[in-house]
């Protein structure tokens, strides 16, 4: 049975892969996210609009209205309420989806904490944009500032990856009872059309079983109190359990991605190494769409490699060390940031240093590149490479310095 619906990548007439039980469509990133939510048969969608997330919730509303998706869709009064409602429905046993961005995510901060501490599974898309002063362009300061809320975070490079990651995320989230944030880049991804392979419902159903009730589930026959005052000894124990489960994320994410590849034919890893070997002198560390630009650039530099981070929280330390294994100790890492969190170093460099501490003593250079939606064209990547090789400084603003 599984063999029958198993999808494989077939080499077609041209070089593009083709996948069985998929439909090829041209979709913007936001619509790909909405398709993923539909395919995962989400039951509850609380919504509140914010640019550039809007087309996700608009499309979902349309799907519910025309019967493509059997979900309860509610226009809430704020993102705080969106997440508070998400929490209620997840406790009620529903598979929950919503999407937000920037101010919306900041506004929901309190409830993000509550959801992860309640150990509720759900998947939420965040379309990254920074804080007021008003700016709607691509920036990851919103989600990266929420990296310590106990949510799992993935950053997608392409719309296809976002769609596929959402499907995998429900499985991961429901296995561990940890919520997942799937992050898209504003406009470069949310509003840019790509060729997308949309899997059939049959294929997704075979991969992703319906959500099963866990311990945090309102059971009318066996009433419980959820989330009341927890004394220190118990809180400590709860946190210990959450920590134990957080430590399973990296390996389980890999396992789920492998299973996904068997069903859908597309391979994903928590971190991806491009051209990293004994010959590599410099590695650019990137997340999301900047990766695509960097991929193109490094092709022209035989001694420059690329490390893409797809899973960001919990930080995939094992994967990063593995990816850098063949890299000589005198090579340099250049972290490319699309965030500014008020500290000297950006979030990527902070995390990379933590991951490598005690294991590798590689020189790291931090490059603020795409903050506030500033475009990161190939020229900026080239500038980074040039500077890293010829004038290495600990921290620089790629297009200022």
């Amino acid at each position: 049975m599984l063999e029958e619906i198993k999808s494989t990548s077939l080499a077609g007439e041209d070089k593009l892969p083709k996948y069985r039980d998929h439909e090829e469509r041209i979709l913007k990133g936001n619509y790909a996210a909405a398709e993923a939510a539909r395919l995962c048969r989400v039951g509850f969608i609380p919504a509140y609009p914010i640019t550039p997330q809007t087309t996700i919730v608009e499309r979902l509303s349309e799907m519910v209205a025309n019967g493509e998706l059997d979900a309860t869709y509610i226009n809430m009064d704020s993102e705080h309420s969106v997440f508070a409602a998400a929490m209620g429905a997840a406790l009620g046993g529903e598979r929950v989806f919503t999407a937000t961005a920037g101010q919306g995510l900041f506004y929901a901060h309190e409830v993000l904490q509550a959801i992860s501490h309640f150990r509720l599974p759900m998947v939420v898309c965040n379309v990254g944009r920074p804080s007021i002063p008003w700016n709607i362009w691509s920036d990851q300061s919103d989600s990266l500032s929420q990296r310590d809320t106990g949510w799992i975070q993935y950053y997608g490079e392409s719309a296809q990856e976002v769609l596929d990651t959402i499907i995998q995320s429900y499985m991961l989230s429901e296995k561990l009872n940890i919520p997942v944030m799937a992050v898209l880049d504003a406009f470069y991804q949310s509003h840019t059309s790509e060729n997308i392979w949309v899997p059939s419902q049959k294929l997704v159903d075979a991969f992703l079983p319906p959500r099963k009730a866990g311990a945090m589930h309102i059971d009318l026959e066996h009433p419980k109190a959820f989330g009341g005052l927890v004394p220190p000894e118990h809180y400590y124990k709860f946190s210990y359990n959450a920590w134990k489960d957080a430590r399973k994320v990296e390996a389980l994410s890999t396992e789920i991605a492998a299973r996904f590849a068997r069903y859908f034919g597309r391979q994903y890893s928590n971190v991806e190494a491009v051209n990293i070997g004994p010959h590599t002198r410099l590695v650019l560390v990137t997340v999301s769409t900047i990766t695509t630009t960097a991929r193109g650039v490094v092709r022209n530099y035989p001694d420059v490699g690329l490390l893409k981070l797809r899973l960001f929280r919990p930080f995939p330390k094992t994967g990063v060390l593995e990816a850098l294994r063949a890299l000589p100790d005198d090579a340099v890492l250049a972290n490319v940031e699309r965030n500014f969190l008020g500290d000297a170093e950006g979030a990527i460099q902070q995390e990379m240093k933590r991951a490598l501490f005690g294991a590798r003593n590689l020189r790291m250079l931090d490059f603020y590149a795409g903050v506030g939606g500033k475009d990161v064209p190939p020229e900026t990547i080239e500038k980074i490479i040039y500077q890293a090789k010829n004038d290495p400084r600990d921290i620089s603003w790629a297009d200022v310095d």
């Binding site: 039951g43 509850f44 609380p46 309860t72 509610i74 226009n75 809430m76 009064d77 704020s78 705080h80 309420s81 969106v82 997440f83 508070a84 409602a85 998400a86 929490m87 209620g88 429905a89 997840a90 406790l91 009620g92 046993g93 529903e94 929950v96 309190e110 409830v111 509550a114 309102i218 059971d219 009318l220 009433p223 419980k224 109190a225 959820f226 989330g227 009341g228 005052l229 927890v230 004394p231 118990h234």
Partner: protein, 308 residues
Amino acid sequence: MSPTQEFLIKDEKVYSGALSCRGCAWSLLARHLSSILGDNTVYVVPACCFSIISGPYPLNGLKGNIVHTVFAGASATATGVRAALDRQGKADTTVVVLAGDGGTFDIGLQALSGAAARGENILYVVNNNGAYMNTGIQTSTATPYGAVTTTNPGGGYKRTWPKDLMGIIAAHNLPYAATCSLAYLDDLRRKVRKAADTRGFRLLMVDGPCPPGHKTDPALSISIARLAVETKLFPLFEIERQRYTLNYIPDKEVPVTECLKYQGRFKHLFNEENGYILEEIQEHADHYWRQLQTKAELSWNGKEKEKT
């Protein structure tokens, strides 16, 4: 109202050992509510004294599911719980929010307004004790004019009038909203039943005695609650789709001072130089009552609604 046995709790749904102060409204209110609403009920509780009273983990003081949630999010969390239950064919399960005045008049007002305007099938019960009691009696927008709290930068007592929550709620065109007093249990229990039997968003506001917060003798909680109704400081009324019904008309005029004098939070008002404040409070209560009377008259085409 003729005396009945209706105020008796026949089916106790609250375990003994509540963690409230003596004379607290929360415990008595929870007992009456739960005895009427029964087992098929999910309670959603934002931060308030009841979050503590209902018992720390792993205890549950109520024989029902309690979902504790963030302070501002009770109505939203209840919306999610409601949606989940409805999707699973449990539309007959009652979803109840139990919130304080701070969680209702202030931080939870937006979520409350949203849920009310959407017509969520939720029963919202607010225990109005007129301050943030759980955190130590700080001023809320429900705090009465003239009351002392622990945060009165304006000079020792509150110098603004409390919000008219029932007016705000009425403007949402709810199928049912009412004020209730623990001193009038027949009326309270009838209203809980009526609210439980109504579909849509319903709100009950209960006058909440709080001895430490009001600086009162715990033994007088119910007597003071009765005086609040008798003095028209806390009139008992119902609103059905903006139509008002007065449920209790005191047969004699009792001045507000009769209720205020038992409460230490108003003690300073009885100093001679503050006499004018007492007059203002009397005037405000009289005016609010006249407004209610007028609304009640207009509501049912000039005829007072038949008493239910």
